[in-house]
Structures are given as C-alpha cells and as structure tokens.
Symmetry: none
Subunit: 533 residues, 2 copies
C-alpha cells in the first residue's frame, strides 16, 4: 500500500492562527500527542525568529519520540550573510533536530519585493542554504513558498527554483500554496508541470483561503505527492492550513493509501479535541470526521433509516476515526452511552432499573444546561453514586462569603469566609487568595483539613473557565473545569452557573468529595481522625 | 460572461445544522437579506414536513422580492398515494411559490431501504411527481438525492432517474452529494457521465463531510453546471453544506463567471455576519473571504511586506467581498506591526521618535506578562494615547468591593460597591449581578452614567476568560477579553491578572474609556452633562 508522509505544522503555522498562543508546556504536550498519533514529522517552530521556539527544541530533545521526527523551520540565508554566518541558519543547526525545513521564494514578485535582490541571486540563496544544511547532516525538506502563484507569474522561474534545490541535495520538495487562493484545477496543472520537471519526491502545503485546502492536498496526492503538510483542526494564519483531521482519513479511507495507519486513525477525534482544548478554542462541532456533529443525525426522515443501515447515510463508519454516531432525538443512544461510561469506571447498574433511567434523565438535563462530563469523570462518578447509592455529602455548608476589594490603583485583594459542619461540628474560618476562587478554595480546604487530614495531599493542577454563551457577556453561563491530584491519581470535576464563584464552588466541592470517597469509602460523612479503610 | 445561478438553502438544509433554529421572524429577515444579496433562488422550507414552513410561505408572499424566486422543497409522491392525493405534493402546490424543488432517489440502496419499493416503481414516482408539478405551472427543479453514491453503486440506474425527470419536464437537474463523502476526482468523472447522458441544464448540491463541498461545487461549475446550491456560512446538517460565502467569490473572482455580480459581492461579509447573528452562532473568524481573520496578517516577516504590496500576500482584494485587511499586533512582530496598527487606527506617531520606542517596549512587556492586543484593539488605542499623548483617565477610583455570598444550598448572590470621583465629584453606589463581574460592571456603569449619559448605550456583547498557566490552578493568571457595542461600533478590550475580578475590571474600564474617548474626545475627564464635541 502506498505510504504518504504526514508533516504536522500545528506548532509553527498553526500557532499563526489568530487567538492561538501555546505555552511551552502546551507545545510539549502536543508533540507527544502527535507522536502517539503516528505523524511522520512534527515542525516545532522557527528558532531563528522566535526565542520561545529555541526553548521548545531544547526541551523536546528529552522527549523519547516513538516514531515522529522533529523539524526546525527557517528561511534561506539572508542576502547579506554568507551561509556560515547567517544567524537563521545557525539557529536551525543548533536546534539539533534530525530534520530542517527551509523555505525559499518561488515567485519572482516576492524575490524583487520582499528580498530586493535579483532572480539569479535568489537561486544562489536556495542552492547555498540547502547545500549548507545537507553538509551538516540534516534531512532537508525544501518548501517552495508561493509556488503556485509563482508558477502563474513566471513558470520557468518557479521551476528553476525547484531544480536548484534538487541539485543542492534537498531530500524532498514541497510545493506551497502560501496565499491559499489556488483553485484545484489550476493546482493540478501546475503540480503536474513540476512533477515532470524534477526527479525529486514532492510534497504539498496548502492554505484554505478559497476553502480548497483539503481538496487541493488530496488532488496533489492523487497526482503523486508523497508528503502532506497541514495542521490539526486546520489551525493557521487567516483561514488556516490544510486540516490534517480531514486529510488523513481521506488518504486512509478514500484513497486506499497509508499514512498514520488504521489503528492510529482511531485516535483522531480525541487528538482533535484535546488540541482544541490546549488552544483554548471551543472544538468545532461541524468538523468533518472528528466533530461532534459529523455523524449526528437530525430530521425525522433520516433517523429511523440510519438505524436500519448506517452505510446509506454515513460516508464512513465513525468508529474508524474514533468518533461516534449521535441520533439527536433518540434517548436510546443517551442511555447506552451513560451505561457504557458507568461500566468503564466500574460503576455497576442494572440497565433496565429505574435508577438507570434516573441517571440518564439527570445527565441529559445537566448537559442541556451546560455541564459536560467528558473530561470531568470524577463529577460523573459522584453524581452517579448520589443518584444510585444515595451517598451523602461529607459536610453541610452553612454559607460562605467571598470578598474582592480594590483600593485606588493597588491590585485587588480577595478573602473568603466559610462556615460549615461535619457531623454537627461547626467550623468557621477564613482565608486570603490571589483571586476570589483561590481564596474560596483555601478557606474550604482549611476548614475541612481538621476533619479529614488527607485533604492536605490534594493539589489543584488545572483550572479552566469556558464562557458558554459569550454573547450574554458578563451574565453568561460559565463552565469551570478543575483538575486535582493527590500525587497518585488525577481527577477532574465540573461546575456550571451564571455565577463564576458558584461554578467554581461546585467543581471544588466535587473534587474534595472524590478524594474523601477514595480515602474513606462511601460511608458518607467522616469524623475527625477517620482512618483509611 | 457566463451566468451561474445561486440557489440558497440556508433556511431549509442550513437549519438542519445542530444548534441552529430560526424563528419565523429570523427567516423573513434572512429572505430579505438574501434577496438584497442577489441570489437567484431562496429555498424557504419543506411545507409537507414542517408546519412552521407553511407559515413562512404564507408570510413570504407579502414580501416584494427584487430578484430572487422563492422555492418550496419536498419529496416525490409517497408510494401509496397518487399524485393528486399526495399530501406532500399538495403542500408544495399550496405554498404558492413560483418554484418547486423535489428530490427523488438516485441510489438503488435507498429505493429498497428507505422506500421499500422496486427500482421501476421509483422511476414512476419521479416521472409522475415532476409531471404533476409542471401541470400546475411550476418551475420544477429536480434534486437527484445521493446521485454520486448512487452512480458508484449502479450508474445505469442513477442515470435512468435523471432521464425520467428530464422527460417529465423538469427545468433543471441537480446532482446531489447528499452524504458529502465524494472526492473531487470521483465527482468530476460522475458529473461528466451525467452531462453526456442528459440534455438538461445541470446543477450541483454538495455537503462537506470530506471537507470538499466548495471544491466539488466549483469543479462541477467548471464542467458545465449552471446552478449551485448551498448555504450562507456553510451551515447544514453534520459538517454542513457548500458554503456560498466561498462559492460565490470563487465564481466571480476566480472563474470569471457571473453569479450575484461584482456590486452585490461587496455585501458578502456583512451578510455572512448578520446571518450568523440571526443563527445565534459566533461568526467564524477563519471563514474564507468573509471571516474577520481572512485578511489578517501576523508574524513579523509578512507585515512590512504586506504594506509594500498587498497583492503579493492576499489572494484577492478584501474590499471586493466587503471585508478588510487587518494587521495583528502580537509578540512575534516588531516595530513595523505596531506602527502599522497605529496608522490603521488613525493614531499618528513618528517612527523614529522616543515615543514609538516607548510604545513598542511597553507592548512587548505587557504581551510577555499575558496581554494580547490582537482582538483587543480598543485597549491598544487607549494604551497608545496614554503613552504618546499622556491622555488622562476619565475618573479616579477610590475603591470597590465585590461580595459573593452563598447560604446553604441556595445559589450564590453577588453584589458590588464602588466609590469613584469624576473631576472631584464623588459617587458611591452599589449594584447586584448574577456573578461578581456582572455586579461590578453594573455598579461601575451606574456610577458613571450620571456623569456620562452616553454610557447608557453601551452593551457588553462578549466576555471571554482564558487561564494562562492552568497548571497553577486557581492561582493562575487569567486574561479577560470583553467586547462592547454602542449599536454603531464594536470594540474589544483586555485585562490580565492573577485575580479574575481585577482582570475583568481592567477590561471593563478600558471599554468605557474607549466609548468616552469616542464621544467626548481626548480632553480627559468629562463633567456632568459634557456634550458631544
């Protein structure tokens, strides 16, 4: 089966997307996820342009990648520098990646305009830069920037830039539709000309400005490209890059070629969603293959038919990409999902019991009002135990008050006061924090630690806020997700309210309840000095 | 110039999109907007399936459309009904539209599975239904549902269904990729077979399940289709329909054919955004041609070049589709970005002045500590004026206190108290809100409205929270983005702090400062009754 290389540039081109900015931690997470997914190349960044990217390459060296090769990205040498003295090329070498991707100009207009040099000089830049990187032992991928526009303007020159890169030893030539406006028909013609002109293997790099990035990438593969560059979820500058979450399944399931392989393909929906979480962008429900709506059936005419024969209404089986069918008006799917989820966590329930119906109904109602239990399994488990086993709260809240105060130009200060009872014993205390949620969290834990010493081990490791209906502005509902750890296990909890403090409170209380359940079992409220069972 | 018909089905297929539901009022608004835009057909709904759609057609009769023709949508007759007694066909006739679009089955699998009749009987259904509607004086558009999958399964039968519809008098045959999974290369082959087989004019209807809807529609036009069906913003079931906001400019600006015409094309970005408002969905910034990011430039390497020659970096002129170029201020960029941004907003500064350096340095420092000014241009402008023109605050804050209280199991309540002075006159007031930020926002505006009545017009239209270092959990820094509107303009502001209330406060204050600057100019603090300059 023909193998197509997948080259991911989420961290470089993808992070050019408006409102995307990844922290170093985010980037390292993403590198690992992409490696697990089985992509062949991961472009980590542009070390010559961004000092943060240098840091990434330094840390990435310690990651033991299973399959993917890291690539550093940069441009051909500056017209005024020799290759040996060019800071950009130096930074590429010093990134210590096995692969370097350099772009050179294929469009005469850009040579004159952006570089301000002669067409001949640009060929020298390309030749020398590629040869220099080859001499340093790198695998060199050559990106022919603006190839398709360049070909339209001066086809002989665009082709000449490819020849020079080929002769200098580039391992692969990638034809780029950098401005993203090329129609599939034009791209096909120009790609064919290039493939007749050079002997090298070709790759394709497309942007979505005419909404053709994926179709163009696939058309190039059909014409012989062996390498596709793109980003997860199509993130990228302007209208984004070719979306690998569509390119990969199109290659695997429609062209009958191999990229990451059928087994890895099942991770795709999960990878798409977790990278959108790291980008702090709401996952797009309508994304092909991986979106939550991609296999959702609405409208009376379809639903019963879908259940008869899914193949008649779905272009591929959702399980192949790790997604699932949803029938939007059916309660059956909800129930089987919930029971599946419960079984997965070792929670036992009889399918046909009234309790099962109670759980399904309650979850539906809560999801409708904004809760999300995917990624908040501890809250799911607590809710389940309350409804099915009638488990009790570990404490009773009398009340709390959280105050944030600002005096003149000084920074705001926050303080929380809390009064609660554990088996009738009252605790009334207060704490400060850097913000209102921090203050509330501290006050709550302070008040409970005397009863349940194990709470000392609890740390909050992640805190996320999503505004659910942003158009309602400060009156909008917010969903808070809290991740906690006790050094041995991590768990996540959720809260939803129009009041951010209330939503945070729900998630904090669930987090503590989960910890106490783990330590003291299901016997409900503990006592001072209750021991681990 | 060759004319391509645009057939909009936002109201029917588009409203199948998950989380889309239009009221009758919304639909009538949309009909008018589409007519103004110059589309040729507007599919209003399916009167035989949805009683709300019947109401739409009743009201739509009173609209005086300038150009567009209304179409009612429905299926061929039911196998057990004669055409004269079929309720669905009756409803189509009674919709009193000049155009009726009916779909028939082109895929043998669906004939057997969904209709449960013989292949021959299905041909009768198509023939009789088309002939009946023609006898009622309708323009009949025939949608060949699942044509491309049907052709793959049994090409002779799929073509036979077209012949029958043609012979019965259909005015146009539309080939549909109903499941949306057809690759462009396959679609081209099958489209060509159909166009060789029938004499009728052909149309194309595609879905986006393989992320090829737009490319497929354009490929069909290049092969002779004279009619494209799609939806505004690509709304639709699962992954959506062909996005007319990309199809139309591709036809007008890339194929050199005519659809709505160059003059109307300038409305496109506006129509896209207002229909997303009516659908109550946030406008997708990365939409080709019409999205807010479609012509946004980020990254130092581009910006100085874009300023030299936009055509080198933009596939079309944004003004042609009513969009605009934006240069984003981000930490990747240097001085030229900042100065361009300033110039764009009419802020004057000498490139080589110490003030210019001050602005660039301050922005870098703030971005490093978590601020982000792309998408918060109003905060950029306020900061710029402070640094360059030494502009003064409109009020002095003595202090505020925000209290969130919870009693037992009741929902939390929030209240804010604020004390501030405008030109020495003190205002001390309080307000409640659904959460702490809402309470603070209300108290702030309440206290200022007496001095600056124009604040009454101000509405917050969007509120976003991003936790910047989530691993620090509730002690993490948060960035708050607030979007505001006064009914004429929208602007965005930003705040960053470890304290969410403090971060929100900064963004709220900037928002109000921007409004006041707009109304009262740069003279600093206003007075009670200050008038518009």
């Amino acid at each position: 089966m023909k193998k197509i290389q997948i080259y991911d540039t989420t961290l470089r081109d993808g992070s050019q997307g408006e409102s995307i900015s990844f922290s170093l931690e985010d980037k390292l997470h993403i590198v690992k996820k992409l490696d697990d997914l089985g992509v062949d190349y991961i472009e980590g960044g542009w070390p010559g342009s961004n000092s943060k990217d240098i840091e990434l390459f330094r840390h990435a060296r310690d990651l033991k990648l299973k399959h993917a090769k890291l690539a550093a990205f940069g441009s051909t040498r500056h017209p005024r520098h020799s290759v040996a003295q060019d800071p950009n090329l130096q930074a590429l070498v010093e990134a210590h990646t096995p692969v370097v991707t350099i772009f050179g100009k294929a469009w005469d207009l850009h040579v004159k305009l952006a570089l301000g040099i002669s067409l001949k000089e640009n060929l020298d830049l390309i030749r020398e830069s590629v040869a220099f990187l080859k001499s340093k032992g790198k695998e060199v991928i050559y990106d022919a920037e603006h190839f398709f526009d360049g070909f339209k303007a001066d086809s002989a020159y665009a082709l000449a830039t490819l020849t020079v890169a080929e002769e200098a030893g580039a391992d692969l030539l990638v034809l780029c539709d950098t401005n993203g406006g090329t129609l599939t028909s034009d791209l096909r013609e120009r790609f064919q000309s290039a493939s007749q002109h050079v002997k090298s293997r070709l790759g394709i790099h497309t942007h979505n400005d005419a909404e053709m990035a994926v179709a163009n990438a696939i058309a190039a593969v059909q014409l012989g490209a062996v390498h596709v560059q793109g980003t997860i979820n199509g993130y990228g500058e302007r209208c984004g890059n070719a979306n690998l979450c569509s390119v990969i399944p199109n290659i695997e399931l429609k062209l009958g070629m191999q990229s990451i392989g059928k087994e890895n393909l099942k991770q795709l929906a999960q990878v798409s969603r977790s990278i959108s979480e790291l980008a702090n962008l709401p996952p797009r429900q309508d994304l092909p293959y991986v979106g939550k709506s991609a296999f959702a059936h609405k409208g009376g005419i379809h639903v019963s038919a879908v259940m008869k024969a899914a193949a008649a209404y779905e272009h591929v089986d959702p399980a192949l990409v790790g997604n699932e069918r949803r029938v939007l008006v059916s309660e059956l799917s909800g129930k089987s999902n919930v029971l599946y989820k419960a079984a997965e966590r070792g929670l036992k329930i009889d399918k046909s019991s009234p309790a099962a119906k109670l759980v399904v109904d309650k979850l539906k109602e809560m999801e409708h009002s904004g809760y999300q239990f995917e990624g908040a399994e501890a809250s799911f488990e607590i809710l389940f135990n309350k409804l099915v086993h009638n488990s009790k709260d570990f404490f009773d809240l009398d009340g709390f008050r959280v105050i944030t105060e600002k005096k003149g130009a000084a920074e705001s200060l926050s303080e929380a006061v809390i009064k609660l009872r554990v088996e009738g014993i009252e605790e009334h205390t207060a704490a400060e924090g850097v913000g209102p949620v921090s203050a509330l969290d501290r006050a709550l834990r302070k008040s409970l630690t005397t009863f349940f010493p194990c709470i000392r081990e609890l740390r909050l490791t992640d805190y996320k806020v999503r505004v659910l209906n942003p158009e309602s502005a400060t009156d909008a509902k917010v969903r808070v997700l809290v991740e906690s750890s006790d050094g041995r296990e991590r768990w996540s909890t959720v809260g939803v309210s129009e009041n951010l403090i209330e939503a945070s409170w729900q998630a904090l209380v669930d987090s503590i309840a989960y910890k106490l359940k783990k330590e003291y079992g299901s016997k409900g409220k503990g006592t001072k000095g209750a021991s681990n069972e």
